[in-house]
Symmetry: C2
Subunit: 368 residues, 2 copies
């Protein structure tokens, strides 16, 4: 999507089998737009861990590039083939341990390893890792495009019954192109509708503690000329009560076959408010975010608990510098739960790259 009028994606290389992976430092947004270079599997691990890159699809692609860089490192070390595979495996375990909740990370790593293991020579293995990373990146772009097209139909249907011809969409966190490679998941229908000149306005819940709504979603929508307003997470229920929201669209970091949506903390409360006000609530996601293995989302999906400093302190811009300001008393206990689970009873439907699906195990299993 556009940044200062120029098209960007979130992760790219300048040539085949490169030494450098380029990405946007999302910790500096919305205050500074800076492209950074990831040159080793360790760089990749840090970037995922400290959330330089974030968002389930982008984490997956970054992880795949991490495996590729690990393969290159193993190659440069001139290891025998067993040690070569072993080096990559050890790195893959480190990559998988960066963040626990989004399933894309694990799938990307496993799939990349499978591609590597089926090759016999080191050169072929390095190639296979690169080809998979590039494939996954393109695949995610296409998925988001498909989500956009399916979601557009939902917005068009809402438009039919709207008198003032402006659709009010509410979203939580950033399931935008910044969290993906391009288009985004929750934002894809918005960008497609905007292209068709449908009048839109987006309420963005700021999404404490890391403010990906206020910082990232607002930033990317503004750069793409989408009318939007940031509100606190607390205010999401109020704007719904007041009839100022037509539809809620969020992303999903992991989705179960029962249609439960594990997404950024606060999604559950927002979904409850949508339900209470008869506002359709959609999660937009590539089918790769489904986790076949989960039977009980509440018990089985590991919910990341991040550093309490993200709660006790808030990052913002002060005198042109990005700083962390403390909001709690000193020595105050804090907990920082990062995701929650929205039960399927609150989900109108899932907007996937394979179509719009009711959150029902029979329907999901049929389509996936």
């Amino acid at each position: 999507m556009l940044v200062n009028g120029k098209h960007h994606i979130t992760i790219w290389t300048e040539k085949k089998y490169p030494s450098i992976i380029y990405t946007i430092d999302q910790n500096l947004l919305p205050h500074k737009f800076e492209i950074i270079e990831l040159k080793s599997s360790s760089d990749i691990i840090s970037a995922i861990k400290n959330m330089t890159v974030r968002g389930a699809p982008l984490i997956g692609v970054t992880a795949a590039y991490g495996i590729f860089l690990a393969a290159k490192e193993a190659y440069a070390k001139n290891l025998n083939i067993n040690r070569f595979d072993n080096y990559i495996y050890r790195k893959s375990e480190q990559i998988k341990s960066t963040r626990p909740t989004a399933v894309n990370l694990f799938n990307a790593v496993e799939n990349s390893l499978n591609q590597i293991y089926r090759e016999r020579t080191k050169v072929k293995k390095v190639e296979a890792a690169f080809v998979y990373a590039k494939y996954l990146s393109d695949y995610e772009i296409n998925s988001c495009r498909a989500i956009g097209k399916f979601g557009l139909n939902i917005l068009k249907n809402i438009l039919k019954r709207k008198k003032d011809k402006t659709i009010n969409i509410l979203t939580h966190c950033n399931a935008g192109w910044l969290g993906c490679i391009d288009y985004g998941t929750a934002t894809a229908p918005i960008y497609f509708a905007h292209k068709e000149k449908i009048n839109l306005h987006v309420w963005i819940e700021e999404t404490r503690p890391r403010n990906q709504g206020a910082g990232l979603t607002a930033w990317e929508l503004m750069h793409n000329n989408i009318d939007c307003t940031v509100i606190t997470d607390n205010a999401g229920g109020y704007v719904m009560q007041k009839g100022m929201v037509d539809i809620v669209i969020v992303g999903s970091d992991r989705t179960t076959f029962n249609g439960e949506v594990c997404n950024k903390i606060g999604t559950y409360k927002t979904a409850l408010a949508a339900k209470d006000n008869n506002i359709p609530f959609y999660a937009a996601l590539p089918v790769t975010s489904f986790d076949f293995k989960i039977k009980d989302a509440m018990k089985e999906i590991p919910i990341e608990e991040r550093n309490g400093k993200e709660v006790s302190h808030i990052r913002g811009l002060y005198k042109e510098k990005i700083i962390n300001a403390r909001i709690t008393p000193q020595k105050c206990k804090v907990r920082n739960f990062s995701f929650d689970i929205t039960p399927s009873k609150l989900v109108t439907a899932l907007i996937t790259d394979k179509g719009i699906i009711k959150p029902d195990v029979r329907i999901i299993k049929k389509l996936i």
Copy 2:
């Protein structure tokens, strides 16, 4: 309650008919504990407007002292009795226009004016204004004490069925002694239970945009040795989903006879989460927060919309200075709705100074 081991109330005078009203500057908390002097009705108006004092009961008492200071000013100006009353009336209108949502403010001003108007001499009028302010302050303290005793019974009942003997309470915003004169409303049962050595733990939702939870509730509970943990507003639903909350207690800025609770923005979402998890949800309030006139809370209660800077920027401590750091992109649109309405279907009961009341018009009208 205690601050650094010493008992404090939130607003006081050192003598009868004083020139100075003392209060705590709540904009500096939790970072600095500073007592400030209010010396004129204009000081009172600024203090309420910029939230140096806040919380429905405290706003009411501060407003009453504001009318007293206005009466003193009128007296000093040596006006004739008509102009004297007129001066106070004009000031009372300014005081009423400071904040629109909490009903205590209007009631305090009206009641004080009634006391003044029934007196014939200027000296008596000044006296009446002071006596009323002091009466209201004492009345609020007694109300909170009564709320605490009634609420304590609810906590004792929960304790009976708890195996681990620690009651987990969740609260939103600050309905603590800082928002009242002493004890608080939502916190009064907590302080009374603590005094009876009942094991408690309080989850505090930080309460964006002004973080009265993270800044004020955490501060006052810590100073009174209550075990507590700050979480984001978004995480309130999650801790309930995980079975980590036994009861939710919040305050109320205005309550209708139908049992609707108008309280700090985000209360509605929290109440929805409590309902969805079968967790009892109580609003604690003095009966003075009831508004007889409201028939349709959603349409009739004026919801304050404050400066957007409270959303685009967050106040915190950086290098020992209280600063405002920007979290949104420049030129980003924001809206700052300050209250929402929790429908009575989500309210288990109201903990009032007259007893625990179901949110039902027939029951409320009988008891009040």
